[in-house]
């Protein structure tokens, strides 16, 4: 292979003038983490609401929540990001659209919305499955104790359901982190975008991608360990 390896490249200054190539990648890592956490918060909250709505005994609400899941699940994430970033500002009233386009960090907010709502449809399916996995007697017992529907969910169903779906939620969170890289297409300067930029500036393709690869693997490992710890902390014995 006649490829010129140069592992010293990370300590050379990048042409952007804001530091070394390593600094560039680390700033990408920071944006990846920030975007992932924000998108996960959106996905978890909205996904929980939609997932719960699918299990409530109200027909129109079930149908609406089902339609929501199908809508966000059947359009590729990349297309959804384009809709949030390019299309939404054009469909809003002129002033509002202009404000959205000129907002600082517009790509970040679009990415959070895009990845967040995409994730929410998948979280909703998990939440629904988690509630569905509980024996029917649980909600009946709640009712028999005189709890309202809201109280039954809050004190009986959800605490068990979330414990059951913790492992799949972990992999959804890992997917969310990976999915933020799609936002490089709308100009978010996250880790993959920075690795790509480094490759274009320095021509050291494999060094920059190797560094990004290692960073993604480290994030992955940290999340897996953290979630396992959480699983152990919240697990109920004797179930």
């Amino acid at each position: 292979m006649n490829y010129h390896w140069n592992w010293q490249i990370f300590w050379e200054l990048s042409p952007e003038g804001t530091g070394t190539y390593l600094d560039m990648l680390l700033s990408g890592l920071w944006w990846t983490i920030l975007t992932s956490l924000a998108a996960w918060a959106v996905g978890l909250v909205v996904g929980s609401v939609v997932g719960i709505a699918r299990t409530l005994p109200i027909r129109p609400l079930q149908w609406l929540a089902g339609a929501y899941v199908e809508l966000f699940r059947n359009i590729p994430l990349l297309v959804q990001l384009f809709l949030w970033y390019f299309v939404l500002p054009e469909l809003l009233p002129h002033g509002l659209g202009l404000w959205m386009k000129q907002m600082p960090n517009a790509a970040f907010y679009s990415a959070v919305a895009g990845v967040g709502f995409f994730t929410s449809s998948r979280v909703a399916e998990q939440v629904r499955a988690g509630i569905g996995a509980l024996p029917r007697g649980q909600s009946m017992a709640g009712k028999a104790l005189g709890l309202t529907v809201a109280q039954t969910y809050r004190y009986v169903l959800l605490p068990m359901a979330y414990r059951i779906i913790l492992p799949p939620l972990t992999s959804e969170f890992l997917n969310t982190i990976k999915n933020t890289s799609v936002a490089l297409t709308i100009g978010l300067l996250e880790l993959t975008a920075r690795a790509r930029a480094m490759q274009e500036f320095s021509f050291q393709v494999f060094e920059s991608f190797t560094a990004a690869t290692i960073m993604y693997m480290v994030i992955n490992m940290v999340v897996v360990i953290a979630m396992r710890t959480l699983e152990r902390r919240v697990s109920l014995t004797g179930r």
């Binding site: 292979m1 006649n2 490829y3 199908e70 809508l71 699940r73 059947n74 359009i75 590729p76 994430l77 990349l78 297309v79 959804q80 384009f82 809709l83 390019f86 299309v87 054009e90 469909l91 890992l174 982190i177 990976k178 999915n179 933020t180 890289s181 799609v182 490089l184 297409t185 993959t192 690795a195 790509r196 490759q199 393709v205 494999f206 991608f209 990004a212 690869t213 993604y216 693997m217 992955n220």
Partner: protein, 230 residues
């Protein structure tokens, strides 16, 4: 709201969008599914086999690919495949690989990981007694897999395999990052040329939605029918 929009742009570029663009997307999805399905099955069989070393290597590969974003993997293969080709053929310089081959190699090697996980679950869902019975009538390990375990595993996993194909179909849109003209790429080109981003991206979303929704309905139907067949 849509007063200033020109939806005629869709009609004008329809043949380019559907034949050039969607043709590429469907061909890539179909071939990648076929190749990744075969490779994934082989990986799953080896991973569950009693041979030394190889299962560990496969676990390493699976975990490696699963921890990386698809976009980064597309870049990796896009730049790496010419060098691997050079190494394999002993050529003087990195060989030129066409856009389609590059995308096909990437999706085959990446999706094989996801298909192998599904097939592994499928093989493990077949009771151990089946394998034992096959061995008892004198079949070798590979023969038992080929004639007894895999056909059943495959049938049980058809809904999951098809669902993964829908995911793959959606994921092929990511070849956009290396400027390949798939369906979304074609829509993007028309959008840039005519300054019609809103119309084209909405159209792309509607087309993807209809195709994926119809396909997932079909999978659900199959799944329900399968339940009775068992």
């Amino acid at each position: 709201m849509f007063a200033n929009f020109d939806f005629d742009v869709i009609r004008r570029s329809l043949s380019y969008l559907l034949i050039d663009g969607m043709g590429f997307t469907l061909l890539l999805t179909g071939l990648a599914t076929l190749l990744a399905g075969i490779l994934g099955t082989i990986l799953a069989v080896i991973r569950l086999s009693p041979v030394p070393v190889l299962p560990r290597l496969i676990i390493g590969y699976v975990e490696f690919v699963r921890s990386l974003p698809l976009v980064l993997l597309i870049f990796w293969f896009y730049f790496l495949v010419p060098y691997i080709g050079q190494w394999l053929t002993g050529a003087e310089r990195p060989i030129a690989v066409g856009a389609f081959s590059s995308a096909l190699i990437t999706f085959t090697l990446v999706e094989a990981v996801y298909f192998s996980e599904i097939m592994r679950a499928g093989i493990q869902s077949i009771s151990r007694g089946q394998l034992a019975a096959a061995r008892a009538v004198g079949l070798g390990y590979m023969q038992s897999m080929r004639y007894v375990v895999l056909p059943q595993a495959f049938r049980n996993m058809v809904p999951l395999l098809l669902t993964q194909t829908i995911v793959l179909f959606q994921d092929t849109s990511l070849v956009y990052v290396v400027s390949i003209t798939d369906f979304l790429g074609a829509a993007g080109k028309v959008a840039q040329r005519d300054g019609r981003l809103v119309e084209m991206y909405l159209f792309a979303a509607v087309v993807y939605f209809i195709m994926c929704f119809a396909a997932s309905m079909l999978v659900r139907h199959l799944q329900r029918r399968n339940e009775f067949a068992r």
